[in-house]
């Protein structure tokens, strides 16, 4: 499946170019003729949706930088200048701010799709692990971007997140001062966050390239979770999946546009319109919604270092998922028990998100603790055991049999 197709270009200029630099045959082999399982459902369109969101974020971000000023005294004003004075500034800024949120909506669906259909299993471990790195870099990028308007929530979000590193004994304090470039979050912090916020999306683009490369070595997983066995199992990527992806992208962008145009501040916090004040912490600080499950885990543990370790572990554990899941069967379609635990995990993650938005006391604290415990039990106990306990349902012999039934295949 790898390598470029042996296609001979009829156009002499195309052939001349391709013999010297085979870009055309790579495009032909990887984006046009690429054999793709014929049974992919709409959950598989989120890869294309994510690529689209990355491009939207890059384009809007690059033009926003032409008007933004990374200085504590001017950052907030320059954002308002974008909103009020710059031609189409309001649109570009709302596209960028809501684009981040929709980027996360798509990445969470994409990841849960991977969990449901066992897309992390052999031979796609590296593909999955690059994906986890992409997710972590995305979170760092989004966090630093949220700091740039330099409002109260920006500032105190930066304080709380950078202080996570102070939990480590001895090295914690020097690390935090190194991150800040001072004794508190200040102008040096804002400027370096701006620099990194501009850099990381390009790192993301490079990681996405590796992600797609790894995908094109192993080929797509599919809803049946069976590897491709013959030509009958696949369709060329174009036009079958270019068009399917495009349709899904258009539908996804309609939801996105609804927020950009009709409710652009729905996911924001009004306190961020107040300029950053290092002397006063707002009553109730919360991160953006896409960080809430992790924030809930951080607060669920009654020890500072413990909370930080648990929160980071919840991400690190994903790297080991290909080996924690002991079942040979990929798709949960054929794993009745694992399927129930999957939906329980979805509920647990949503519950963590809600708990993260509430003050960390009383019943919500208890809920957050139970949900955090279950998150780890799921990956460390349930998944390894299920492979031995569960009896999978009978599986079709091939993808074409799964699609067409036994007789036709």
């Amino acid at each position: 499946m790898s390598g470029h197709s042996a296609y001979e270009f009829k156009n002499p200029i195309a052939r001349w170019l391709d013999e010297r630099l085979p870009v055309l045959s790579i495009v032909r082999g990887q984006l046009v003729d690429f054999p793709t399982p014929r049974n992919l459902n709409y959950w598989w369109t989120f890869g294309g949706i994510l690529a689209t969101m990355l491009v939207i974020q890059l384009l809007t971000g690059i033009v926003l930088v032409m008007h933004y000023t990374p200085h504590v005294a001017m950052a907030g004003d320059s954002v308002e200048h974008i909103m009020r004075d710059v031609n189409w500034g309001w649109l570009l800024r709302w596209m960028h701010a809501n684009g981040a949120a929709f980027f996360f909506i798509a990445v969470y669906i994409h990841m849960f799709r991977g969990l449901y259909y066992g897309s992390y299993k052999s031979p796609r471990e590296i593909l999955w692990m690059i994906g986890v790195i992409i997710f972590i870099v995305m979170m760092a990028t989004a966090f630093m971007g949220y700091v740039l308007p330099w409002g109260q929530m920006s500032y105190w979000g930066a304080v709380v997140i950078t202080n996570l590193f102070s939990a480590f004994p001895y090295i914690g304090e020097p690390i935090v001062q190194w991150l800040w470039g001072g004794f508190t979050v200040g102008n040096p912090t804002l400027q370096r966050f701006f620099s990194l916020h501009y850099l990381l999306p390009f790192v993301l683009a490079a990681l996405v390239f590796l992600h797609v490369w790894a995908l094109h070595i192993t080929g797509n997983n599919n809803p049946a979770g069976i590897e491709v066995k013959s030509k009958e199992d696949t369709l060329p990527f174009h036009p079958y999946y270019t068009m399917k992806d495009l349709f899904a992208i258009v539908v996804f962008l309609m939801f996105y546009a609804a927020f950009v145009f009709y409710s652009p501040w729905y996911m924001g916090h009004s306190i961020n319109f107040a300029p950053a004040n290092p002397m006063v912490t707002p009553e109730h600080i919360v991160p953006e919604w896409y960080f809430l499950p992790f924030y809930a885990m951080l607060r669920a543990i009654p020890s500072k270092l413990g909370g930080v370790i648990v929160m980071f572990s919840s991400l690190i554990i994903l790297f080991f998922l290909p080996w924690l899941d002991t079942s040979k069967v990929k798709s949960l379609k054929y794993r009745p028990l694992a399927r129930q635990f999957f939906w329980l995990l979805v509920i647990v993650c949503l519950t963590l998100g809600i708990a993260g938005s509430q003050p960390a006391t009383g019943a919500w604290l208890l809920v957050a603790r139970l949900a955090t415990a279950w998150y780890f039990i799921h990956f460390l106990v349930i998944l390894p055991l299920l492979g031995f306990i569960e009896k999978p349902k009978p599986m079709p012999a091939s993808i074409s049999e799964a699609v067409l039934g036994k007789e036709a295949a």
């Binding site: 105190w156 304080v159 709380v160 950078t162 202080n163 996570l164 102070s166 001062q177 190194w178 991150l179 800040w180 470039g181 001072g182 004794f183 508190t184 200040g186 040096p188 370096r192 290092p278 002397m279 006063v280 912490t281 707002p282 009553e283 109730h284 600080i285 607060r299 543990i301 009654p302 020890s303 500072k304 270092l305 909370g307 003050p359 960390a360 006391t361």
Partner: protein, 191 residues
């Protein structure tokens, strides 16, 4: 004897190979340092290091927040009740038994007296001077609140008592006491 000559040649080549590699690696590592160290606090940040404050105008029960090194510093003229409560608290009840007073040795006990001692050992228990940053994740706690007549951090629910010592919640340490000394009976220099 040809084999010895061959070995000698090979080992000399190995040596050059390893030596070149080592110099290259060490040089790259050294060249990396300026790129890392540029992120540390710069000279202009380090220069803003000390602040003076006169506590005489503070009434009993009144507190102010001033800025030192860009950080909030709480200065409070404590009431008799607050002092009494802080003194009566047995050390065994404290989550963090160490004073966290930068003017004292790092193992000084978290008695009320040790929380109000300056760099010269002068004690004026009326005035409590501390860095107003929660030792959990760096929020600024609210004064005159919490379960222990002291400070309460709204971010993640840490309670500090009337001597700024952590009593309940996720914060690991008592509020830090900055380095300071009295220049008169009420005037202090922080830093």
């Amino acid at each position: 004897m040809t084999s010895t000559v061959e070995n000698a040649g090979a080992s000399r080549r190995d040596f050059l190979y390893i030596a070149t590699g080592t110099v290259g690696a060490a040089g790259t590592a050294l060249a990396l340092w300026p790129f890392i160290d540029q992120m540390n606090p710069d000279a202009s940040v380090l220069a803003l290091a000390s602040t003076e404050f006169d506590m005489a105008p503070l009434e009993e029960g009144q507190g102010v927040t001033i800025k030192w090194r860009g950080k909030p510093v709480f200065i409070r003229h404590r009431t008799k009740k607050e002092i009494e409560e802080a003194r009566k608290t047995p050390l065994a009840d404290l989550k963090d038994p160490v004073a966290r007073n930068l003017n004292l040795p790092p193992d000084a006990k978290a008695t009320d007296e040790n929380r109000v001692k300056d760099a010269n050992g002068k004690v004026n228990e009326k005035y409590l001077v501390q860095i107003g940053i929660c030792t959990h994740l760096g929020c600024v706690p609210l004064g005159e609140s919490g379960d222990y007549d002291g400070w309460f951090c709204p971010c993640h629910g840490s309670h500090y008592d009337s001597a700024g010592r952590i009593r309940k919640g996720p914060a690991p340490r008592n509020l830090d006491i900055p380095p300071y000394k009295y220049t008169t009976d009420t005037q202090i220099v922080i830093g």
